[in-house]
């Protein structure tokens, strides 16, 4: 019975439970069925495709092993002030873009030897973009002329008579320099840099082939262009050669052929095209042949006239399984003698034609980067990666002539390079006997001073410390306790002051140039009166080696740092100690006064920093660098391992034994005293925000840092390394915040006027709306299955218009979060969109050579403005009454388009802005609309008067520019730099305030919040970055 009851009760229970829950369920189902679509607010994470397949993992964040980072001890900030009236570029993270400004070893750009073998010309990069072109007289071994090109040198050639050398300059001009010297002439005709130049065999004509796709034939007598042709499809010009009196050929780097032209003295006519072998990599060429290699390392010679492959005598051999000793090849133009240098140091020269005969020599260069020959192949110029340049004469093979000695271990500098007091120069030692004063701006050597080799100088004596004084004076302290004072006038006999017997370890010149404060290795401090060149006072207040000396800017105080952990503050007037500052736990190695002379910063070997009040002698702030930044490793120093090839290594002993190898080596304070920068012996710089007492940025420099200096009104930080390289690090905004969620390249990224809302779109066919403050996704809207390639956002962020690869425009209502539909009107692809300031009108520029204006509310066109070329850029003036358009030449971006201003209400033209050499990618109106700043694909930036159409000023940047915008209430001009960088300039002067690289392989779009302080970039990787110029 119980059993029956059990089953019965189970059944009843089931029914009852089912009925009860059934009723409940009905309600719930209804709720689910009628619920609104789920908002994706804050769902910025990537969900696994099938959650159930990997329940054990789900969404795992990136996890790192616990870091051993110890935050610096940060105490009360020492600097506090009201926010400046105008925004700065972030708090002072000097980790933006960096550019070399002084090269320790100049990189070769061009090398040639005159047909008669008398002259060698070498163009070498001495700074980021500047090049020094030196012409050497082979007979004397001395330069006959030096030419500096701030934007570099791109090509070089001698005329057949060896009386002129021609080169292409970075400013796109053609420069002709008479030999051995004389006034150079500069010919302008190209819009982009010249890729190659060649003289006709009689020297009457000169052909220049430019990246602007044009071949120009110049008459040498009249300097006039007498022939011109367009090499269709050229991206970058590689070679041009006269093959005969009236025929020449060209090769560009993006095609596998040579193109032949006929020139009859009046017209340059395309004749035919000759295909080169597949995968043929050209190394060099003479007038009739090209020399190169195949991917399998097989060398080939190709007849330029027929494309026929000829056998090459060069056989490369594999050095290891993975690398081959790549040969550097040179050829003599007339004899066709061929030379190849392999990294085993052998130079082999084959006699042209059959290559049956060859000669091989061993050179003392293992790493050659260029070879050039005279007409007949008798003299060969060889340039090494270590900076060495020699001429090798086949008739005298045992006595190669060095024109420039290589930088080697034996000539490595012993004294650390230091910046001069005015920030314009740096002093360094080229070798044991030569002091160089280099210009920071150009990288050029301004002075080359030789140390006196007097009889009383002991051979073992070496310069231990350098100091660049005012008025071109250089103080050299040496290991014998003497100071040699060199004047810029090489004729003046150096003054020698004997201070003592201990090595000179620190020097400082007073601002009034009256005193030289000297510290030695024994801990003694010496005051030298420079007016009489004698020591006026010596005393030993510190027990350890004096490692640094410094005067305050007001000249009232001085300071010496010592290895005994102390810093002494001196009263300059009495030359007596005012305070002995104690607090460091290791030897103090660097000191620096603030610009107002009220504070002193000291850094020690441990990596500790102390900021002292000069008046009271009390410390006001202490911080310690992370061990990794300040201390060498137990294994060989990272800086040794990561030296660039060709540079000497510290471990090889060229640096002095007593060189600082740990801790802080240099200190600099920004002009506004908000940022403190320190350099370390381990190759780092670290900056601190003194206003907030926080770390800012750390940068690794490969080599020990020897000196630091703020420049460009604190927009950049100059860093000198132990071996004499100087790089400039631009100020950068704080690290960007990341908006993650796109699954494809982001091609549209925009902010509303305040910068609080971001709208992005890309190849994943999604339009995403973001809350920037929260860093969260508000909504993702489908773009009807089409990729978004460009777009525009209204100032209030409530409307957007986008386009894809086609001609249709998609209108979006971002209040209702919906698409208003797609509208067609253009016949071809739309490239650019812009909202009017009031958000009511949209302009679209298309490949169909028209611009249309649309009423957003009706999505209908008002005007169609016809152009004579495809329109790739449109923008409204701030009052909406004018529309700016930029067209692209149908042939290529390398030709100039038209930058025009139109009346919005009538669609009639107002102005055309003429002055850009090639396509204008972007432009922006000033806030009042009275000025316009435009930027070109060639890096040209122009400011225009909108009322008159006149160019107010222009400047050049080494890279192409696009995506211009004004930020921070119109104070700053933001531009995208090709190669994924961002420029921020002062809009009134175009002075660079900041340059930084976006963390991406490719920026898809860049925009700003015009009245905010944010910059947005969409990237190829699907990431959206937002930088803020305010310290958020």
């Amino acid at each position: 019975m119980k059993r029956h009851l059990f089953f019965g009760s189970v059944a009843i229970s089931l029914v009852a439970i089912a009925v009860v829950f059934r009723g409940c369920h009905g309600t719930e189902t209804k709720d689910v069925a009628t619920s609104e679509p789920v908002s994706e607010t804050s769902s910025v994470t990537t969900a696994p495709i099938l959650a159930d397949v990997a329940p054990s993992v789900g969404r795992m964040p990136i996890v790192t092993t616990p870091s051993s980072t110890v935050p610096p001890k940060v105490q009360t900030p020492i600097y506090s002030t009201k926010k400046p009236a105008s925004l700065a570029i972030g708090p002072g993270s000097f980790n933006g873009h960096h550019e070399p400004v002084v090269f320790h070893v100049a990189g070769l750009r061009v090398l040639s030897i005159s047909p008669d073998g008398r002259f060698v010309v070498a163009g070498r990069q001495v700074s980021r973009s500047g090049a020094l072109l030196q012409v050497w007289d082979v007979a004397t071994g001395q330069p006959t002329c030096e030419l500096y090109e701030p934007l570099g040198v791109t090509a070089v050639a001698f005329d057949p008579s060896s009386q002129t050398v021609a080169y292409g300059a970075g400013d796109h001009s053609l420069v002709l320099q008479p030999l051995p010297s004389g006034q150079a002439s500069r010919w302008n005709g190209h819009r982009l840099s010249i890729g190659d130049i060649a003289f006709s065999s009689d020297g009457k004509w000169l052909a220049s082939f430019s990246h602007d796709s044009r071949i120009l034939i110049w008459d040498m007598a009249s300097a006039a262009v007498i022939g011109e042709a367009i090499d269709e499809g050229t991206r970058f010009a590689s070679q041009v050669r006269f093959a005969g009196p009236e025929q020449l050929w060209t090769r560009s780097n993006n095609n596998s052929s040579v193109r032949w032209y006929d020139f009859n003295g009046k017209a340059l006519m395309f004749r035919n095209e000759v295909n080169l072998p597949e995968n043929f990599n050209v190394i060099t060429a003479d007038n009739s042949q090209l020399y190169g290699w195949q991917p399998d390392h097989t060398h080939q010679i190709v007849d330029a006239a027929t494309g026929r492959v000829l056998p090459s005598p060069i056989v490369e051999r594999a050095a290891t399984d993975e690398s081959t000793l790549r040969a550097v090849v040179g050829v003599a133009a007339s004899s066709h003698d061929l030379a190849a240098h392999t990294s085993d140091g052998r130079l082999t020269v084959w006699t042209g034609g059959t290559f049956d005969d060859s000669e091989t020599w061993s050179l003392s260069m293992s790493n050659v980067n260029a070879i050039a020959a005279d007409q007949m192949g008798r003299k060969w110029a060889v340039h090494g990666a270590d900076g060495g340049l020699l001429v090798f004469d086949r008739d005298h093979p045992d006595t190669p002539q060095w024109l420039e000695q290589p930088t080697s271990v034996s000539t490595a500098p012993l004294a650390a390079p230091r910046f001069g007091p005015n920030g314009e120069t740096m002093v360094s030692m080229k070798d044991a006997e030569t002091v160089l004063i280099s210009e920071i701006e150009t990288g050029l050597t301004r002075r080359r001073l030789s140390l006196p080799r007097t009889s009383d100088v002991v051979d073992e004596t070496s310069v231990t410390i350098l100091l660049k004084g005012r008025h071109e004076t250089v103080y050299c302290g040496n290991s014998a306790g003497r100071i040699e004072i060199l004047k810029s006038d090489a004729q003046t006999t150096p003054t020698v002051i004997t201070v003592g017997k201990a090595a000179i370890a620190a020097m400082a010149e007073s601002p009034d140039q009256r005193y030289l404060l000297v510290g030695d290795a024994d801990g003694s401090t010496h005051w030298i009166d420079l007016r009489v060149s004698s020591v006026t006072k010596s005393q030993q207040n510190q027990a350890g080696r004096i490692t640094a000396a410094e005067f305050s800017a007001d000249g009232r105080s001085a300071s010496t740092a010592s290895g005994d952990y102390t810093v002494v503050l001196w009263d300059v007037a009495s030359q007596s100690p005012r305070h002995t500052l104690r607090g460091h736990e290791q030897g103090v190695q660097a000191i620096s006064f603030s610009r107002d002379s009220q504070q002193l910063v000291s850094g020690d070997a441990k990596g500790s920093l102390i900021v002292w009040n000069v008046s009271t002698g009390k410390h006001v702030w202490i911080a310690t660098l992370h061990n990794y930044l300040a201390q060498p490793h137990t294994s060989p120093s990272s800086s040794r391992q990561e030296l660039p090839p060709g540079l000497p290594r510290e471990s090889e002993g060229q640096l002095p034994d007593d060189a600082v190898n740990s801790g802080i080596t240099s200190i600099a304070l920004s002009g506004d005293q908000r940022v403190l920068a320190v350099g370390t012996a381990t190759g780092y710089t670290q900056t601190f925000d003194l206003e907030h007492g926080t770390q800012l940025s750390a940068v690794f420099h490969r080599l020990p840092v020897s000196d630091l200096m703020f420049a460009e009104d604190d927009a950049s930080l100059l860093v000198a390394t132990r071996l004499g390289d100087v790089s400039r690090w631009w100020r950068a905004p704080d690290k960007p915040r990341l908006l993650s969620g796109h699954e494809g390249s982001v091609r549209f990224a925009a902010l509303d006027i305040s910068g609080n809302r971001a709208v992005t779109g890309g190849t994943d066919r999604q339009l995403k709306i973001w809350d920037v403050e929260q860093g969260s996704l508000v909504r993702s809207l489908d773009n009807a299955g089409e990729a978004i390639t460009c777009g525009t956002l209204s100032a209030d962020g409530q409307r957007a218009v986008t386009c894809g690869y086609g001609s249709g425009l998609m209108f979006w209502d971002l209040v209702e979060m919906k698409s208003l539909g797609k509208r067609y009107g253009h016949k071809q692809r739309v490239w650019s969109l812009a909202f009017s300031p009031d958000g009511e009108t949209v302009a679209s520029g298309s490949d169909d050579r028209s611009v249309k204006t649309w009423v957003f509310s009706t999505q209908k066109t008002i005007h169609t403005i016809e152009h004579d070329a495809p329109v790739h850029f449109v923008r409204f003036s701030p009052d909406g009454t004018k529309l700016l358009t930029s067209t692209i030449d149908p042939r290529s971006w390398q030709f100039p388009g038209r930058l025009q201003l139109w009346d919005t209400s009538t669609g009639k033209p107002l102005w055309e802005f003429k002055g850009h050499r090639i396509t204008v990618n972007s432009a922006v109106f000033s806030e009042k609309g009275d000025e316009l700043t435009s930027c070109g694909a060639d890096g040209q930036v122009c400011r225009w008067n909108v009322a008159t159409g006149e160019c107010i000023s222009d400047t050049f940047r080494p890279h192409g520019l696009s995506h211009a915008g004004l930020i921070s209430d119109g104070q700053f001009l933001v531009m995208r730099r090709f190669n994924n960088g961002v420029f921020i300039d002062r809009v009134d002067t175009l002075a660079r305030m900041s340059e930084f690289d976006a963390p991406t392989r490719s920026i898809g779009d860049l925009n700003v919040a015009s009245q905010g302080h944010r910059i947005i970039a969409g990237t190829e990787e699907g990431a959206v970055y937002i930088w803020s110029l305010d310290h958020e």
Partner: protein, 451 residues
């Protein structure tokens, strides 16, 4: 309903139920019985019927016996004797049945009480749309599954959108995973058919009885499965089938041409053309490189052998590389079209690396598909944590491959397969870039003795 089409019970079911009634269940049969009760709604129905019959017979027996308790039972009736063991078993089974019934009533809408469940949705990411009969579409989210799975009925249509995915288990324990933008219809007639008008699905099909194959129907093909693991892509113009385990028979609908596709094989079925089977590689789940013996053949980078983590003897430092967008500093594995490792849902990439500030770092995984040997898909991990906190220290990062986002969506036509062929660590030019001491991939993020 399926019952209406079944002429007789499967032999196994009859054997089990009879054995239960006769109390002759072996341990193996007992386990199987429990399994079936959990997984097969039809079996549960049969079981309830038997229980009801048993109850009825027992009650009849009890009632008949009462008047003559002292007498013998009727000799010609075999009355099941409910022993304690049977009682316990039956009670347990009934409890399961009760739960199932309650859940069934709890979980689904009108009329469901009259339909038997074909399976149940067990996992949802995002929100999934379900169409049933003439009811309006219902949106189901993961939260709706937190307490109970969602039973499915014949005729249900399940749709995932661009951001959602779903997993369901059929009554025979076949697992179906629906990727985004997929539609699946649990076809009523004929039974055993799953119609997939569009989308991408993975299936781990429980071995089917001969003659009762599970059949996927796409616009271009029928895929008959007797028990295997496969992946399906249904597009408007073609269907793709990739088999991971076992074998399937694919029939092109347009001409009824059939081919068998076996494990590690791939087939594209278009309207016309040859049905050409391609093999695809199956690399191991794990992959590792520690640079202890130098830079291995095919790697891009510069071998460094000092300033290393403890007990390490070598690392690869980035070198300048030219890519379509420009130059970067890269450490890159060789490109291997046979695959470096298998991309599983729980795969994790680990790396011990150093980034010298201020460089950034992206990690790319390039992948090929089943049908194409060249790498066509690019995945990238963009995470500032990879580089922004670094001060040059060696650190080990552990990144689930699910964190890697596809960066060339829309540029490559949708196709099946994701076999990693190359891993690249990429940073900006003109910086020291990244140095990689070790990189490895495994599943579940299992701990590895690292540096």
């Amino acid at each position: 309903m399926r019952d209406s089409h079944r002429s007789e019970l499967p032999d196994e079911w009859s054997d089990l139920l009879n054995a239960m009634a006769e109390e002759t269940l072996t341990d193996e049969q007992e386990r199987r019985l429990a399994d079936l009760l959990r997984s097969d709604s039809e079996f549960r129905l049969e079981y309830v019927r038997l229980c009801q019959l048993q109850t009825l017979l027992a009650m009849q027996s009890y009632a008949a016996a009462e008047p003559s308790q002292q007498g013998k039972p009727p000799p010609n009736r075999r009355i099941p004797v409910i022993t304690r063991r049977t009682f316990r078993l039956t009670a347990a089974v009934m409890s399961i049945v009760a739960v199932v019934i309650v859940i069934g009533f709890l979980s689904w809408g009108p009329g469901s009480g009259t339909n038997s469940s074909l399976g149940e949705i067990t996992g949802i990411v995002g929100q999934v749309e379900i169409l049933r009969d003439d009811q309006p579409p219902t949106l189901i989210r993961a939260d709706d599954l937190t307490q109970t799975p969602l039973p499915l009925q014949p005729g249900d249509t399940i749709r995932t959108d661009r951001k959602s995915s779903a997993t369901f288990i059929l009554s025979d324990r076949t697992e179906i995973g629906m990727h985004p933008e997929t539609t699946l219809i649990l076809t009523v007639e004929p039974p055993g058919h799953l119609t997939m008008p569009r989308g991408h699905a993975t299936a781990r099909v429980t071995p089917q009885k001969p003659g009762h194959a599970l059949i996927f129907v796409t616009p271009r093909a029928e895929v008959r499965v007797l028990g295997t693991e496969l992946e399906l892509l249904a597009l408007a113009d073609h269907t793709e089938v990739a088999v991971k385990e076992g074998r399937v028979r694919v029939t092109r609908i347009s001409d009824r041409h059939s081919v068998d596709v076996s494990a590690a094989e791939f087939l594209l079925i278009a309207q016309t053309g040859d049905l050409t089977i391609k093999e695809w590689p199956r690399p191991p789940d794990d992959w590792s490189e520690n640079f202890e013996q130098g830079l291995p053949r095919g790697w891009t980078g510069r071998f460094v052998h000092d300033v290393l983590p403890a007990e390490s003897h070598g690392a690869a430092q980035a070198v300048p590389m030219l890519n379509p967008q420009g130059r970067n500093m890269d450490v890159a594995s060789p490109s291997r079209d046979t695959g470096l490792f298998s991309w599983q849902a729980d795969s994790v990439l680990h790396a011990t690396l150093k980034v010298q500030p201020p460089a950034w770092l992206h990690i790319y995984v390039y992948a090929r598909t089943y049908g194409q040997s060249q790498e066509v898909m690019t995945y990238c991990c963009v995470n500032p944590d990879l580089w922004q906190s670094s001060r040059g220290e060696w650190r080990t990062v552990h990144i689930p491959l699910s964190e890697f986002q596809r960066v060339n969506v829309g540029q490559v036509e949708q196709t099946l397969g994701r076999i990693p062929t190359r891993v690249v660590f990429s940073g900006p030019i003109d910086h020291v870039g990244v140095t990689v001491d070790r990189v490895w991939v495994d599943r579940h993020g299992s701990p590895v003795t690292g540096n």
